[in-house]
Each structure stands twice: as C-alpha cells, then as structure tokens.
C-alpha cells in the first residue's frame, strides 16, 4: 500500500482536477479553478471533494 498522500481530486461539479499544494485536512475549503465552485474536503482517503454547503443562519464571526 502506498503512503503517498493524495493531493488531487476531481471537482464534483465539472470534473476538473483540483490540486492542493500541501496535505489537505478534513473540512478544508477550496475553490475549483475551472468552474469556480467552492469545495470542501469531505474525505481524506480517498481524497473526496463536495460542493461546500450554503451559508447557514448561524454562521459568521
């Protein structure tokens, strides 16, 4: 089994590859450079991205 950390996954919206410069963490937010959709890391192994949820009422500072 390879110990290589996957730092690339497909955008669930447009299938373009989305890369990370460093090892991603669960819940990390990113953006697809092709379609511009905001993404979130939902699984590290295998690296899985989902479209980030819409802002909720209690979100903020």
């Amino acid at each position: 089994m390879s110990d290589t950390i996957t730092t690339q996954a497909a955008c669930p919206e447009c299938d373009a590859p989305v890369g990370f410069e460093r090892e991603p963490l669960s819940g990390q937010v990113s953006r697809c450079s092709d379609c511009g959709v905001e993404l979130e890391v939902t699984c590290l192994s295998p690296l899985t991205l989902e479209v980030a949820p819409e802002i909720e009422e209690d979100w903020g500072e």
């Binding site: 937010v29 979130e40 890391v41 500072e61």
Partner: protein
C-alpha cells in the same frame, strides 16, 4: 503541551493558526467537529488538551464546544462566557451599556407593533439587525415608516424565532468607512478601516480594507469593549459618529483576519498562536 483546534470549515484563518503554532514549536491537533462525538460523562481524549482553540464558523457548534470544554475543565480559546456575550447582539449591547461603553442609540422590542414604536423613537433612517447573525446578513436600513413596517412584517411572517426580537439602531452617518480593531489578550494589536460605497462596510460584502494607526481613542474604547466580553481574541467594530465620536458597533468572538494581515503588517495569527501557547503553558489564565 497539547493543543487542539476545533472547526467546522478549515479556512485560511485556521490554516494560518496551525502554521503559526507549529512555527512556535507546538503541534496542534485539528478536529473537524462534524466528525466529533462528545460524552459529557467522560471527557476522554479531550482532557489531554491544555487548551482548545475554538474556530467554528457555526455559532451553534462554537457553543457546544465551549460549554463542553468548560464542563471538562479544559481551557477554551475563547471561553464560553465570551462566546455567549458576543453571540447575541442584544446581550453584547446590554453588557456594553452596563459598563458605560458608548454604543449607538437603540431600541429593542418583542413584537412588530412595539418595534415600530421603538423605530419611530429613534427616527429615520434606522438600522434593523437580527440579534444573531454576521457578515452583514439581513441587516436593513429603513428610511421611512413604510419600509420599517415592511421589514418588520416580513421578519414576523417569514423569519425564524431569532427574528422575533426587534433590534433597532440609530443610523450613524459614518465617513464611508467603519473601523475594526483586533484585540488579543486585552491588547489592541491591529486596526483596519473598511471602506465601501454601500452603507454596509463589511469585508464579507466587498468592503476595501486599509490598515490604520491605533490612536489613543481607538485603543481606549476597543480595550474597554474587549474587557467587557473578556476572553482571548476579539474583533471590535467601531463607528465614527460625527457628534459623539467613537461608538462600539459589534464585538466578534471568532474573528476573521486573512484580509487584515498584509494591510496592517501585523502577524495577527502569530500573536493569537503565541497567546494560545501561553495559556496552554499556564502562563496566562
């Protein structure tokens, strides 16, 4: 020392904090709260931490963590009391007024009819805000009675229970900007001005930021406001009232700072990381 960072979305701010803690020699355990299960009878792994930095974008999650960490005897950054004081604008306002910290004139009511009377007492334009909310969402400037009645009716009919409270504030004719002061460990460490053509000068709504000097007046009022809510790191929003000078508009317990580092030249996450390490090491209460 062992430090955890709880979060619901890992944004630039959280990454920067992790990096800064690491550069100071501390390994921080990042914990995605959506995966976490707590047993209030048994702190388990949580009791191993000397401090937990709470960075949830969700207020509900922040409250869960802060309450449980307090019951586990684990120091939360910020502590529960600070989060509770900042979470609800009415609670914040009441605490600031009790401490004689200047804020805009305001009225509070629990029905649309009483809310209308409160707005009329303030005069127009007035600003209506949800008591819980952030990033300038759902705040409304009402310029006349017709607009005020419409907003109150919409909130009463469509809003959740959070919108049952009418929180009305006088509209301050600010000079195209408001100020934000970052306070860490009680010390104002950086300040920005947020400029916008729109009356809402929030970076989440596209405001442009600029670093500013922390004047004596800014230092005094922001430190005073931060002392009222206590805690470790807060962002104090100030309005420049032409007649009454600086007024505290809001105090934020989960400050965002990614856009304020370059413009101020202050390593805000570095200072917060250092503060957290001092707490974890028992050098700060």
């Amino acid at each position: 020392m062992r430090i955890a960072m709880t979060y619901t979305r890992l944004r630039t701010e959280e990454r920067l904090l992790l990096d800064e803690c690491e550069s100071l020699g501390a390994k921080v355990t990042p914990i995605d709260l959506r995966q976490a299960v707590f047993d209030p009878h048994d702190p388990g792994e949580w009791s191993r931490f000397d401090a937990v930095v709470e960075r949830s974008v969700s207020l509900t999650s922040s409250r869960v963590v802060a309450r449980l960490m307090e019951s586990f005897g684990v120091r939360c950054v910020n502590p529960r009391a600070t989060i509770e004081l900042c979470a609800d604008k009415l609670v914040t306002s009441a605490a600031l007024v009790a401490a004689c910290v200047p804020i805009p004139y305001m009225r509070v009511a629990t029905s649309p009819e009483a809310g209308m009377r409160g707005i009329e007492q303030l005069g127009y334009p007035a600003v209506l805000k949800p008591t819980i909310g952030s990033w300038g969402r759902l705040i409304a400037k009402v310029n006349d009675r017709d607009a005020a009645e419409s907003v109150l009716e919409h909130r009463d009919t469509l809003g959740s229970v959070n919108h049952a409270v009418v929180y009305a504030q006088e509209h301050i004719e600010k000079p195209g900007r408001d100020l934000r002061v970052f306070v860490i460990g009680g010390e104002p460490v950086a300040a920005i001005a947020r400029y916008s053509e729109h009356w809402v000068t929030n970076t989440a709504r596209g405001a442009r930021t600029e670093g500013i000097e922390i004047s004596h007046e800014i230092r005094e009022i922001s430190a005073q406001a931060a002392a009222v809510v206590g805690g470790d790191a807060v962002a104090v929003d100030l309005l420049e009232c032409p007649e009454r000078g600086l007024l505290v508009n809001e105090v934020n317990h989960s400050m965002e700072f990614r856009n304020s580092i370059d413009v101020t030249g202050v390593n805000i996450p570095g200072l917060l990381a250092r503060h957290t390490l001092e707490i974890a090491a028992g050098e700060r209460a």
